[in-house]
């Protein structure tokens, strides 16, 4: 077993770390405060070919593997979760289904622009009545004169309403009766009449990321916009979510590491009772526990990435990684605020933002309870 990153992976990690420190850290607080989508940063990430890391070069992708993707996501989240989820949702959820299930024509149409970051991809699965129970989708699509006519609504969708949003993959019921519903995935381009993006939500965190409700009213797309075989939608979205979990798990590790970075630096600076607070055993214990937990969680995430890259089953490990890291991010950011004392409650300190950004990681792309279900199922319980 080799725990060292290859030279390429180490340099990708180093590059994204330097980029995040140099280009994102100086603007992160402002983007969060003003709830501004990071267009300029997305453009720069695209310039480094980071908007399509794990997709093949022949479709304009970066030609990297899942581990490269994980390292990049981790380093971004260490500095800014909003930027990280923008890249993550675009890659794992927006672009992934087209790469996995798209026809050659669909791939040629969308992948080069998505991978180049010219347009953003989104994945519309969640609905008002279909969250954890994502198969309970109420959105319907019926075939009429060679077109799918879509009616329904989606909830909490990332990346669908920016100036550069290009396409959303949605699940819709395309047939069957209520016992045996047929779910399929359809591509809907931004600008299609009848497809509208609502106002952005007022969120607890991820303030610079775009999250909106979507509505489809008599929205017509060509029959060819069906992704893969009709009726394969359920299996397809489960597979997409499996992969997505690895990315979100990398976010959890990155956020926890970012919280530890800030907490450690602050603890060495801040003095109380005549010495830096990092000399107090109670603070040291927190820092030591966090660093241990983070290292363990990181190995789990890298393992999930490695399993996927080796073409092996990663469902269990990805769910474990997602469960472990979401909780860890919540705990680590809380401890980091605690170590900052009152200053941690003030927005001038990144840990304040980190704390707000953490909670979604136990909810999005499958709640902790859903991860437990996936894990228990894999255990045969």
């Amino acid at each position: 077993m080799d725990f060292d990153l290859s030279d390429d992976h180490a340099l990708i990690q180093r590059t994204v770390r330097d980029f995040a420190r140099g280009e994102i850290a100086p603007v992160a607080e402002e983007l969060d405060r003003t709830k501004s989508f990071p267009y300029e940063i997305v453009r720069k990430l695209a310039g480094l070919q980071l908007m399509g890391i794990p997709f093949p070069e022949e479709y304009g992708g970066g030609g990297g593997d899942t581990l490269a993707y994980v390292l990049a996501v981790e380093e971004l989240t260490r500095i800014d979760s909003s930027v990280a989820i923008t890249l993550c949702a675009h890659t794992s959820l927006g672009t992934q289904p087209i790469w996995l299930f798209g026809s050659e024509e669909q791939k040629r149409e969308w992948l080069p622009r998505l991978c180049a970051g010219e347009v953003l991809g989104a994945f519309g699965l969640t609905e008002p009545e279909a969250g954890s129970d994502a198969g309970n989708t109420k959105t319907r699509a019926r075939l009429e004169d060679g077109q799918w006519v879509i009616d329904g609504a989606k909830q909490f969708i990332t990346n669908a309403g920016t100036d550069i949003s290009g396409v959303v993959t949605i699940t819709a019921v395309t047939g069957g009766d209520n016992g045996q519903r047929e779910i399929s995935n359809l591509l809907v381009a931004n600008g299609t009449p009848g497809y509208e993006q609502g106002e952005p939500y007022r969120k607890m965190g991820w303030n610079a990321s775009d999250t909106r409700p979507l509505t489809f009213t008599d929205c017509r797309v060509p029959e060819d916009n069906l992704l893969g075989p009709r009726g394969a939608g359920f299996k397809q979205f489960l597979h997409v979510l499996d992969i997505g979990r690895i990315g979100v798990a990398a976010m959890g590790v990155g956020l926890a590491q970012g919280a530890l970075d800030e907490a450690l630096a602050y603890a060495k600076e801040r003095r109380a009772f005549g010495q830096p607070i990092s000399r107090f055993q109670a603070i040291q214990a927190k820092l030591a526990d966090l660093s241990t937990e983070i290292e363990a969680a990181r190995l789990l995430v890298y393992k999930a990435a490695r399993l996927k890259d080796a073409g092996r089953n990663f469902t269990l490990t990805a769910a474990q990684a997602k469960l472990k890291t979401g909780r860890l991010a919540v705990r680590a950011t809380e401890e980091a605020v605690q170590i900052h004392g009152g200053y941690g409650y003030i927005e001038e300190y990144p840990v304040c933002r980190f704390y707000r950004d953490a909670k979604i990681l136990t909810i999005g792309e499958g709640t902790d309870e859903i991860q437990q279900m996936v894990i228990a199922r894999a255990l045969g319980a």
Binding site: D7, D8, A10, L11, I12, R14, T15, D18, F19, G47, L48, Q49, L50, I53, E57, G62, G63, G64, A68
Partner: protein
């Protein structure tokens, strides 16, 4: 024109600097990075190449360092260098500045560059002198702390950061130029550049391959002898004046400054 860029692997800026008391050398364990100043030197080379004022056939990254230093070269070629040269030998360990400059100059002689660029200082040793030493051995003019380079007919017109303002200097090639970080904004390597870096040629040289005389390098070949290291003496704590009444505070500050004949 052929440009060689000297690069070095150094401890990451986030790693606290420590002297290893048992060896008298810097503790270089922990996370490493390409010396940030050298990324400016590579960028300067790339800008000359891409600027088009003079055709540049090749940019070659050169380092002397242990096995792990290939990562610094890897980064250098991902930033645009066409190939790299790694001088690595047990015999070189412990070389001081003069010995290092000598070994590097022997390596550079094999390449016969028209221009040698390097960062003005390394993040670890911070001696600021390697460029001058290399230039001396190569018999080339040396310019240090350069923050602007313009190509002119067979010459380079450079601005040097001086204590008060800038020196503008024209230099004939070949020359050795060390650059400051104000010279440019280095680019980040793209994913493709990173993954293509391993495909660019890397020459691994032992000391003898480069014609380096073993007696002139390493601990024994170095003239610097490290004595004992101690922490710098603790500074007296400063005087804190509580600002209760601002007029009074100003008086106290003025009195303090006058006492020391500072105003």
């Amino acid at each position: 024109m052929k440009i060689c860029v000297l690069v070095k692997e150094v401890p990451d800026a986030a790693v606290e600097k420590r002297i290893d008391h048992s060896t008298g050398r810097m503790d270089r364990s922990g996370e490493k990075n390409l010396n940030p100043f050298d990324t400016h030197a590579i960028e300067a080379a790339m800008q000359i190449k891409e600027g088009g004022a003079v055709p540049v056939e090749e940019v070659v990254a050169v380092t002397m360092g242990p096995e792990s230093a290939v990562r610094a070269l890897h980064k250098a070629v991902s930033l645009g260098a066409d190939r790299s040269v790694h001088l690595s030998d047990e015999a070189l360990a412990g070389s001081d500045v003069v010995a290092t400059g000598y070994a590097l100059s022997k390596t550079l002689e094999r390449e016969s560059p028209d221009l040698v660029l390097l960062g003005q200082q390394s993040d670890d040793g911070e001696c600021y002198t390697i460029g001058a030493v290399v230039a001396e051995y190569l018999g080339m003019p040396s310019l240090t702390q350069v923050i602007k380079i313009d190509v002119e007919e067979g010459k380079l017109r450079c601005e040097r950061q001086a204590e008060y303002g800038y020196d503008t200097v024209s230099v004939q090639l070949p020359a050795v130029i060390s650059v400051g970080d104000a010279i440019n904004e280095p680019r980040y390597p793209s994913l493709k550049a990173i993954m293509g870096a391993k495909k660019k040629p890397l020459d691994a040289l032992a000391a003898s391959d480069a014609g380096v005389e073993a007696s002139r390098v390493g601990l024994d070949g170095s003239m610097v002898e490290c004595g004992d290291f101690t922490d710098p003496p603790q500074k007296e704590p400063g005087q804190i004046i509580e600002d209760e009444d601002t007029a009074e505070t100003v008086e106290k500050v003025v009195a303090w400054l006058e006492e020391r004949k500072l105003i």
